[in-house]
């Protein structure tokens, strides 16, 4: 029998149901692997007892009546530390929240729990989800299980859902939750050779997810296969009256709807995504992706998304603006870190607490956000950005009159070494240049592994779908997955 750790969520589910292994065996095997993974710094908090508890419930349910099993019975998952988990430390990767233990459970994690899933632990991330390399985390960066061929240099798993990506890639979680504000699921998925989907904005409730930029934040699954993503997303999504921006629509049966037959489908290739300076191997992979989809029956069509070049600057106005306001609640008054100043008053406490509690990148974004919202600059920056955002949405609306899905690269490069870009925020922000437009438009988008670069590091292909049409994205992802060469981790070094 193959190692439990090598199985996908679908295989674990089916094997458990068939009686190949018990849920407790799955949880125990994963708990061991998690325990031995400290060198990756992926888990901030381990909860083996919660994984076992869910496993025990699954085994008992199966013993009673196998039809009482739930969709994720027997499956232990990793949870990004941005999701509030009742009684389990939730730090959002920040010193500010410290060892904050929420007295409540986020809707998404509660949905997964209700679907039978167990929790292996809380996964490391960029502080408050602000970062593309996991280097902004207060608890130290996650180290990717990947390495360049012939090098031992530490590589970034990407960010902000870097812990989730590394955990899935390193086989210390069969799947994990992520959140995506401007590429935080898709870029790390691409960097670590796994699949990850950000659904339509509003599919997953934001209730109980520590807010970064409310109009962009969206939860999604990260897993080894497209099918696993579909299984997880079905459990995570759903209308939530506690989130006013949640979409009141039934959750489709995405797994059942999976089909890699793309006959009659048109795949849009946006000419504006050809950016000068993109490495040739990225362009080549993109071409290859088009061929794979053609092979699956789809017809490639060239489309235009004329406002693409404004997407990144627009994103870096809107996201920091919302963040500057969303993070105002971390003031030392009610929970988390409090720094008092001898003889000081309320404002001294604010200043000391926020100076000490936030890292540089978070402070940078709070300052940018405060600036673009301030009197005299609001119209020039924020209002203008909102208008451009509307134009970007309109671009996509028009494009989807001509095609059913859009194919682009996920990121402009493979994963880079830790420290290589940390001094250059702009270079770092450019990581999300392909991911951000779909975020601004609230559209479903997915990264699937496509191949490796010259150093043997994974590269991802990016699929964008129309509003509410996750199925097309998943199906095209599946078509690529079936055709792309399988990319294997070079071997366990941790």
């Amino acid at each position: 029998m193959s190692d439990i750790l090598d199985l996908t969520i679908a295989q674990l589910r089916d094997g458990f149901r068939k009686g190949d292994f018990s849920a407790t065996e799955i949880a125990t095997r994963y708990n061991e692997a998690v325990d031995a993974s400290d060198a990756l710094n992926a888990y901030l908090e381990k909860t083996p007892e919660l994984a076992l508890e869910a496993a025990k419930a699954a085994d008992e349910a199966k013993a009673k009546a196998s039809d009482s099993l739930k969709p994720l019975s027997g499956i232990p998952l990793g949870m990004k530390d941005l999701f509030a988990t009742e009684g389990v430390t939730t730090s959002a990767g920040s010193k500010m929240l410290g060892n904050f233990k929420p007295p409540y459970e986020s809707t998404v994690s509660a949905n997964l729990k209700a679907a039978g899933a167990g929790m292996l632990g809380k996964l490391n991330m960029d502080e408050f989800a602000m970062g593309s390399s996991n280097e902004t985390c207060a608890h130290g960066p996650v180290i990717s299980p990947w390495r360049r061929e012939g090098s031992n240099a530490a590589i970034t798993p990407g960010g902000s859902s870097g812990g989730s990506a590394a955990a899935v890639a390193a086989r210390i979680a069969p799947g994990a939750t992520g959140t995506d504000t401007g590429g935080s699921i898709r870029q790390p998925a691409a960097f670590t050779g796994i699949a990850g989907i950000k659904p339509t904005y509003g599919r997953c409730s934001r209730w109980g997810i520590v807010s970064f930029a409310s109009s962009l934040d969206q939860a999604g699954p990260m897993a080894r296969t497209v099918r696993d993503c579909a299984i997880m997303l079905e459990a995570m999504a759903g209308f939530d009256p506690k989130d006013s921006t949640s979409i009141d629509a039934p959750v489709p049966q995405w797994e059942k709807g999976l089909s890699s037959d793309l006959k009659g489908k048109r795949v849009g290739i946006p000419r504006e995504y050809r950016i000068d300076g993109t490495p040739a191997e990225i362009d080549a992979l993109w071409e290859q992706g088009v061929e794979w989809l053609r092979d699956a029956g789809a017809e490639p069509v060239e489309i235009s998304l004329p406002h693409t070049k404004y997407a990144l600057p627009t994103y870096y106005i809107i996201a920091p603006a919302e963040a500057s306001s969303n993070l105002a609640r971390y003031d030392g008054v009610r929970y988390g870190l409090r720094e008092k100043v001898e003889g000081g008053g309320l404002h001294d406490m604010y200043k000391a607490t926020r100076s000490e509690g936030f890292g540089d990148e978070v402070k940078r974004r709070i300052m940018i956000g405060t600036y673009v919202l301030s009197a005299g600059f609001y119209d020039a920056y924020f209002t203008k950005a909102q208008k451009v955002r509307a134009l970007i949405k309109q671009d996509f609306r028009k494009a989807f009159e001509q095609c059913d899905m859009i194919l682009t690269p996920t990121a402009p490069s493979a994963a880079f070494g830790l420290g290589e870009k940390s001094d250059d925020p702009i270079a770092m922000y450019l990581n999300d240049v392909f991911a951000v437009p779909a975020s601004l438009a609230g559209l479903p988008a997915m990264s699937v592994p496509g191949g490796v670069d010259k150093d043997g590091l994974p590269l991802g292909l990016h699929l964008i779908g129309n509003e509410m049409d996750e199925q097309s994205v998943l199906n095209a992802g599946l078509a690529i997955e079936e055709r792309a060469p399988s990319i294997e981790l070079p071997g366990k070094w941790w």
Binding site: T90, P102, R206, G208, S214, K242, A321, S325, R334, A375
Partner: protein, 488 residues
């Protein structure tokens, strides 16, 4: 037009006043959370995770609060915006857990409306229309307590997140009396609608008072804003004080600073809180946690249908019934009184007599007995029964008061009281004639004097007869019989 002026050396200054009234919306739950809103609860017992701004918590609009604000807008004939939006007003303070207040700056729920006020209570027909610029809904903040610990302040979040309507007037008022009348009328409308209890002592209604002065014909002067004034009297004091202070400041050459001020109740003066330079930059922007608020026609129709008869309409109806404008104004000012009076009319009382009774006679009786108007014993049905007995000639007007007093003391029904105390007035001409004859016989000398021309003695005979009949004779019948016997 108000002729209220502040005399200075350079002339008589006109005062320009605008009010921003914060009215707490009557609702079981807060604006964006399910937490309760009752006044006077133990600190921090009415706080949800949303109110405390725990990480990842999200606001969900409470439809009842929106409904109340819409009904209020309709009551002042305002434009209701079917599309509105919430904005965040960002600032740091310990009583503001989110670090921002959810309010509506750019697209308020309610647009322009107007309120008709009568600045002179004695002359309710002399009215002035005050414009309302807008009404928006927003969250209230919590409360800091500085007296609980020697070096620290405590925070009570019970009030945090409670729904407020901010009702912004146009700068249409020109005197403390106009501002007072506006506030009283606004309070009256809110209480009729049921959207705010108008309780200024408990802080359910408070006003930011904007005042500036100018010489007639000049442009508007620089204004000051005095925050959180919590009674009609204080608002009038603030205006008087500010107007005088500003005239002095202008004439001394010092000038008026645009600033926020506070009212010192003990000293009756205003003091600067912060100047324009120190003003916050609130960085308003649309709240990304909330979708725009869109109201459909069915919702608006329900709001409109649920509105009661409002003070102006009621006043007009009372006047049409023959009630004097003054009485009609007094009766309609408070919704409880007006509703009580409507029940009195419904029970069949004649409007004019009823209004005199309700405005003059009844309050005197209640005051003397220290009984509240809202006391359960003071039913409109009891008053109606008494007024009917007067009307039917069963008791005299004088007896009516006595019947009410006895009724309040002893309970039962007014009819029982009259019965029990043998107060029923008689129109039995035979009985009355017999008594009249006795009185005339016993006072033959006075009869002579009367016939000799001393007409004033007529009242004496009436009095003697009534006395003999223990007040139960119908005075009209007594008069008729006496006239027949003396003049006939």
């Amino acid at each position: 037009m108000s002729d209220y002026r502040i005399k200075g050396q350079k002339g008589s200054y006109e005062v320009v006043i605008g009010l921003e009234v914060h009215a707490q919306v009557t609702s079981q739950a807060k604006l964006f959370s399910g937490a309760a809103t009752a006044f006077g609860a133990e600190p921090n017992t009415q706080v949800s995770l949303v109110d405390a701004a725990m990480p990842g918590m999200l606001p969900v609009p409470n439809r009842e609060c929106i409904r109340q604000a819409v009904r209020t807008g309709m009551a002042i004939d305002a434009q209701i915006n079917k599309w509105s939006r919430f904005d965040r007003k960002n600032y740091f303070y310990a009583d503001l857990p989110q670090g921002y207040q959810i309010s509506q700056l750019y697209h308020p729920l309610v647009g322009e409306g107007e309120i008709e006020v009568a600045p002179d209570e004695k002359n309710p027909d002399a009215t002035k229309t005050i414009g309302v610029e807008r009404i928006h809904v927003e969250q209230d903040a919590g409360k800091l307590m500085h007296d609980q610990h020697p070096t620290m302040s405590y925070v009570d979040l019970n009030r945090c997140g409670v729904a407020l309507m901010e009702i912004v007037s146009k700068p249409d008022m020109r005197s403390p009396a106009e501002a007072g009348a506006y506030l009283r009328k606004l309070r009256s409308i809110l209480r009729y609608v049921g959207s705010c209890d108008g309780n200024m002592e408990e802080g359910s209604m408070r006003a930011d008072v904007n005042v500036s002065v100018r010489l007639p014909g000049e442009e508007l002067g620089t204004r000051t804003e005095t925050k959180n004034v919590n009674s009609v009297r204080f608002v009038m004091q603030v205006i008087e004080h500010e107007a005088k202070r500003q005239v002095k400041a202008i004439e001394s050459g010092e000038g008026v600073q645009q600033e926020t001020r506070l009212f010192d109740v003990a000293k009756g003066v205003t003091r600067p809180l912060r100047s324009k330079e120190d003003a916050h930059d609130y960085r308003y922007f649309p709240d990304p946690d909330l979708l725009p608020l869109e109201l459909d026609d069915a919702f608006l129709a329900e709001c409109r249908e649920s509105l009661p008869e409002l003070p102006d309409a009621k006043l007009k109806r009372y006047e049409d019934l023959g009630i004097t404008p003054y009485n009609a104004a007094v009766l309609t000012a408070e919704v409880e009184t007006a509703n009580w009076f409507d029940r009195l009319l419904d029970a069949g009382a004649e409007a004019k007599a009823a209004s005199n009774w309700a405005n003059s006679v009844l309050p005197g009786i209640l005051n003397a007995k220290e009984i509240d108007f809202s006391d359960a014993r003071n039913t409109p049905e009891a008053s109606a029964a008494i007024l009917k007995m007067v009307d039917d000639g069963d008791i005299s007007k004088g007896q009516a008061k006595e019947v009410m007093e006895l009724y309040l003391d002893e309970g039962g029904s007014p009819a029982d009281i009259v019965e029990k105390h043998g107060m029923k007035q008689t129109s039995d001409t035979g009985a009355i004639e017999a008594e009249v004859d006795k009185v005339l016989a016993a006072n033959a000398d006075k009869v002579e004097q009367y016939k000799g021309g001393k007409q004033a003695l007529f009242g004496f005979f009436v009095g003697q007869t009534m006395k003999a009949m223990r007040g139960q004779a119908n005075p009209q019948v007594v008069n008729q019989i006496l006239r027949a016997k003396l003049d006939g």
